[in-house]
């Protein structure tokens, strides 16, 4: 499949450097649109800064996109990761930063990513996050959105789905995972301090992951 009107950068069924940039810009747009909601979620059990920090992280990401002249996927992902690591932003900075840095390692040497490559890169990103925290699925953290999203992408790759479809399924899974966190009690992050009172609200970090995946999908969608 060939997406029309996308600067001719599209290789059927694969994410090029240019398309990756679109994915990332889509994610930034999605987070920016919803940052107040993110801060509101964080103010229940945390310090209410999650939306602000995410916006700062996205701005850094966009600067890295702007500055990128490598034309290479791993280099871009690595730059984005380090840009986000550079945000003085509490918990989300190191986790999200390491997600992209590790994704870069997972995409090492590749010029473009087919669905399987993309799944592998996201798996590397997930592993990078999980190396930083003992949080398991069910602990009400961003892990609860990230794990199902990456798993959905892998499943889509296994069953031969196209990239757009695969990203759609990942976004749906991330959203479902994030939504489910509202039933959970926080065992990591600041919200663990409010114990049972954390039940009833979505985890801000998981919600951000859902927004990022929704943005990835929107970024590669053909323009209407």
């Amino acid at each position: 499949m060939q997406f029309p009107g996308l600067d001719g950068e599209i290789v059927m069924g694969a994410i090029t450097h240019g398309l990756l940039a679109r994915m990332l810009r889509g994610a930034a747009a999605e987070v920016r649109e919803n940052h107040e909601w993110l801060s509101r979620l964080d103010s229940v059990g945390g310090d209410g800064d999650h939306g602000t920090t995410m916006v700062r992280a996205m701005s850094r990401m966009e600067q890295a996109l702007e500055a990128d002249v490598s034309g290479k996927i791993p280099a871009l992902l690595n730059d984005v990761g380090w840009a986000i690591l550079g945000v003085d932003g509490g918990a989300i900075g190191p986790l999200l930063g390491m997600f992209f840095v590790s994704m870069a390692e997972g995409a090492e040497g590749l010029e473009a990513l087919d669905v399987g490559d993309l799944a592998a890169a996201f798996e590397a990103g997930l592993a990078g996050v999980r190396a930083q925290t003992k949080a398991q699925p069910g602990d009400k953290t961003l892990v609860d959105a990230l794990v199902p999203a990456v798993e959905a992408l892998r499943a889509a790759a296994e069953s031969g789905k196209e990239i757009l479809e695969a990203l759609h399924l990942a976004a749906e899974a991330a959203e479902a995972g994030a939504e489910l966190t509202s039933t959970l009690q926080a065992r990591f992050g600041r919200a663990r301090n409010i114990k049972e009172q954390s039940i009833g609200t979505r985890d801000p970090g998981a919600t951000s992951i859902a927004l990022l995946f929704r943005g990835f999908e929107k970024g590669v969608e053909p323009h209407a």
Binding site: G46, G86, D88, P94, N193
Partner: protein, 333 residues
């Protein structure tokens, strides 16, 4: 609560405050690299270096603990937000030495994560370090379940004794052991009587109803304890001390230190009353108040209240407590 702060553009707040901090304490500290706070006179490189990281907005902490006999480098983050791993890594590179780095991390998710990433990267560069986590906030959960306990102002006594040990030329292992011994024997409990505002956003940090106080409030206004009617200094001291002594299993005949850390608008006057009561209560239990420390060390903007930190002192820790040091918050001749 209307915000009444003398600030400029919130976006530059931390940069500006660090510049002023370094200016005010230029005889003891200076800024280097990406706003890392370092000692004005660097420690000899054959001695263990002490490094820490943490959000700003808690002045004089943590950068006020930098100086001879205390920290070598602090990595200040944004207001209430951990610094990102790149600047932490920069600090670890700067401190890199054969003697090694004692890396003191307060238990808050952001700090722990940022430290972890930086440490992983540092390890790849062959930087020798030992992390010591401070998590002495007893309101977080039962002793033993360390992850639940936040790191509050108890980092100061830990830094004091470990810094003194490093200054004496002790090994990384020895310094780490001293830090951990101090940490393991202490507990902190906070009480808040009035709230504060975030200097950048104006957001309210903890709203405390008139006539009430909250025991177990975290460093950024996180809930964590019970709201109860405001008590006298004596009654408050007793509630807090009882809980802390039970937490550390203090026994008659022991020597303890007590630190009273005002978090903002509570006066020294009040803290002196509390200290006096603490001493009397300890005496009736046959415990000696061997050292005390009263002041504002780790604040939460203009919040009212204080943190009481109590810990066990053995002969060695006492000697290290008394050892010379020279930092913006603590000078011993």
């Amino acid at each position: 609560m209307a915000m009444k702060k003398l600030i400029n553009d919130p976006a530059n707040l931390v940069k500006e405050l660090l510049a002023g901090f370094a200016l005010a304490h230029g005889d003891k500290v200076s800024l280097t690299g990406s706003d890392l706070v370092v000692r004005a006179q660097a420690k000899s490189p054959d001695k263990v270096a002490l490094v820490t990281l943490g959000g700003s907005g808690h002045e004089p902490a943590l950068s006020g603990f930098v100086g001879e006999g205390m920290l070598d480098i602090s990595v200040p983050g944004e207001i209430f937000a951990a610094p990102g791993p790149p600047r932490v890594l920069e600090a670890l590179r700067l401190a890199k030495r054969d003697a090694g780095i004692l890396f003191i991390v307060l238990n808050h998710a952001g700090d722990v994560l940022s430290a972890k990433v930086a440490m992983d990267l540092a390890a790849k560069e062959g930087i020798l370090l030992r992390r010591v986590l401070t998590h002495e906030d007893m309101s977080g959960g039962p002793r033993g379940d360390g992850d639940d306990r936040r790191g509050l102002s108890g980092c100061l006594p830990v830094i004091k004794v470990a810094g003194a040990a490093a200054e004496q030329g002790r090994s990384l292992e020895a310094c780490a052991e001293i830090a951990e011994r101090m940490e393991a024997g202490m507990a902190t409990l906070a009480v808040a009587v009035s709230g504060a505002t975030h200097p950048c956003t104006g957001d309210v940090i903890a709203e405390i109803p008139d006539g009430m106080m909250v025991v177990g409030m975290g460093q950024h206004g996180e809930a964590g304890g019970g709201t109860q009617p405001l008590k006298t200094a004596d009654a408050t001291a007793e509630i807090m001390l009882d809980a802390l002594l039970e937490d550390i299993h203090a026994r008659p005949g022991e020597d303890l230190f007590v630190m009273l850390n005002g978090v903002g608008s509570t006066t020294l006057m009040e803290l002196y009353l509390v200290l006096q009561r603490v001493k009397d209560l300890l005496e009736t239990r046959g415990i000696t108040l061997a050292r005390s420390l009263v002041g504002e060390f780790l604040t939460v903007q203009e919040m009212g209240g204080f943190q009481m930190c109590v810990g066990r002192l053995d002969k060695e820790l006492k000697a290290l407590w008394d050892a010379p040091c020279s930092s913006p918050v603590w000078t011993v001749k």
